[in-house]
């Protein structure tokens, strides 16, 4: 496989230049804080703050989910690397409006350690920080060991709902409760066909034979749970959904979900739509009602080919927050 042809400047500087371009894309609605964060301007006073973040290279998330009725700010690390504590602390100070800060991010050892270090520093400054970890990837551990699961594409729904809640509620308790509920109601499963590469090395993050795919592969190309020969959408999607239905979130007749078909990068929207067609037939057979669909490359891994399926099971409260309009680089809703 020949190396991806990327238009960048110094690849080692990609994350920093990405952030500058991101802030510019907000056209004055957001600003850069410290060396690695984006924070929205004009935040509502008297509200608990929502801070997200993680390694760069998965654009538009996480930093592209800073937005109106979305995250108040995002702390960005280098490509695939959690942000350092100092970056997170700067962002924490900038989003804080006296009501505490919720850290909402994916459950990776690096992120947990760095965000925890930042939380300790923030506490020393009298800023109350709570943490909700995102662990929606059912392939990364069995349901009993949910805390060992990775955070993947389902973060979109969790951050969307938490962002709407952050703009609506008055206490950190409430925000934490709602974000936790959204997290607990969300599941994802991915499949990969071809590796992406880190700009600085140009090397693919994994190797996969030309005629194979891998179910359960993570958004950094972490290995999955099943390798198989390439197959059609009608063969693959039921396999994936069966695994999801077998997880511990009961989903059946009359349940309502947000359904998200995410591309990891190179997989085309044409494919996502074909996959969606297959999936929707199966959901309909089970009586699962899709309240809203999202399709597109939102949680990506550079030029990796593959996609993931995610759903969040809604109750009235989650639905109300899901339905609120929002605006960001990564996801907007009228």
């Amino acid at each position: 496989m020949s190396a991806a042809k990327k238009i960048l400047n110094d690849p080692r500087n990609a994350a920093a230049e990405m952030l500058d371009g991101l802030v510019a894309a907000y056209d004055g609605e957001a600003r850069k804080v410290g060396s690695g964060s984006i924070v929205m301007n004009g935040l509502l006073e008297g509200k608990p703050a929502l801070l997200v973040g993680g390694g760069s290279g998965h654009e538009p998330i996480y930093h592209g989910l800073a937005g109106r009725n979305l995250a108040d700010g995002a702390a960005c690390g280098d490509i695939f690397a959690a942000p350092p504590p100092g970056v997170i602390l700067d962002a924490t100070r900038a989003v804080h409006r006296g009501k505490g800060v919720l850290y909402l991010y994916g459950n990776y050892a690096g992120d947990v350690m760095n965000f925890d270090m930042a939380a300790e520093l923030a506490a020393e400054e009298g800023i109350e920080v709570r943490t909700v970890l995102i662990w929606d990837d059912i392939s990364s551990a069995p349901p009993e060991r949910k805390k060992d699961r990775r955070g993947v594409a389902g973060l979109l729904m969790i951050v969307k709902i938490a962002g709407a809640a952050a703009a609506s509620v008055d206490t950190l308790d409430e925000l934490e409760r709602i974000a936790t509920k959204a997290r607990d109601q969300t599941r994802s499963l991915g499949v990969a066909m071809k590796a992406g590469s880190i700009p600085a090395t140009g090397k693919p993050t994994f190797e996969l034979p030309d005629d194979e795919l891998e179910i359960g592969m993570g958004v950094h190309g972490e290995p999955g749970v099943e390798r198989a020969k390439m197959m059609t959408a009608d063969e693959l999607v039921p396999k994936m959904l069966d695994r999801m239905f077998a997880d511990d979130l009961p989903l059946g007749d009359g349940d309502e979900v947000v359904f998200f078909v995410n591309s990891f990068g190179a997989t085309t929207m044409t494919e996502l739509l074909v996959v969606n067609g297959t999936a929707r037939k199966i959901l309909a057979e089970r009586g699962i009602r899709v309240h809203d669909s999202v399709l597109g490359p939102i949680v990506t891994c550079q030029e990796m080919a593959g996609f993931s399926l995610s759903f969040t099971k809604l109750d009235d409260e989650l639905k109300r927050y899901w339905d609120m309009p929002c605006s960001s680089l990564g996801y907007s809703k009228m």
């Binding site: 050892a109 990364s140 090395t201 950094h220 190309g221």
Partner: protein, 211 residues
């Protein structure tokens, strides 16, 4: 007759040498992380040790703790990722244990490694056997404690051996933390990238001491 100890300036120079060595190891470490993780370990280590090198190149330090802490703080502040927290904490916790000492001998080596190990375990919650840098660090610390009456060069050489053996044993471990966790059984056969880094850090220290 080997080196009994290093003074603060020598430790600073040693850490410059470690930084150079780690920067040069980027590709090796990246490949190790590609095999079982997300392929960025070398890049992070390089970024961190460039920052550390810059930090200690400019400065003179009062004592050992000062220089180790400076390295650790530079790693934490620049690297991010699991290894930024882990290796930063290692240098910071290890350094703090040296108090106001200005000579680094084999007892200081043992104190440094032990306290570094404690810090890392507290920070990340991993234990020996979880296929992390701890599996290189823990035997190295134990060996240094056992040899804490010997000359620094002797204790360090033996600690490097212990780290190397520990790193090799990670091949037979299944990762339970970090990006490699999901690999499960397929992580078998590959050494842990962080354990490799830990071993290299000690090896470059040894190179300086022996030079």
């Amino acid at each position: 007759m080997g080196r009994q100890s290093l003074n603060t300036e020598e430790v600073r120079q040693m850490l410059m040498h470690v930084a150079d060595g780690m920067i040069a190891s980027e590709s090796l470490l990246t490949d190790a992380d590609r095999a079982i993780g997300d392929g960025d370990h070398g890049v992070g280590i390089e970024r961190g040790f460039r920052a550390a090198r810059e930090r200690v190149a400019e400065d003179r330090f009062e004592n050992l703790a000062g220089v180790f802490l400076a390295v650790g703080t530079a790693l934490v502040g620049s690297m991010g990722g699991a290894s930024g927290a882990v290796f930063g904490t290692f240098f910071r916790s290890g350094g703090k244990a040296l108090g106001v000492a200005t000579e680094w001998d084999s007892a200081g080596l043992a104190a440094f490694l032990e306290a570094g190990l404690d810090g890392v375990m507290q920070r990340g919650g991993a234990k020996p056997g979880d296929k992390t840098m701890i599996d290189a660090l823990e035997p190295a610390a134990a060996r240094a404690r056992a040899l804490s009456g010997e000359a620094l060069d002797v204790a360090l050489a033996s600690s490097v051996e212990a780290a190397q053996e520990g790193k090799e044993k990670t091949r037979n471990m299944i990762a339970t933390t970090g990006k490699a966790r999901a690999l499960g059984e397929r992580s078998l056969g590959h050494p842990d990238p962080g354990a490799l880094s830990m071993t290299l850090i000690l090896r470059f220290m040894q190179d300086y001491v022996n030079a």
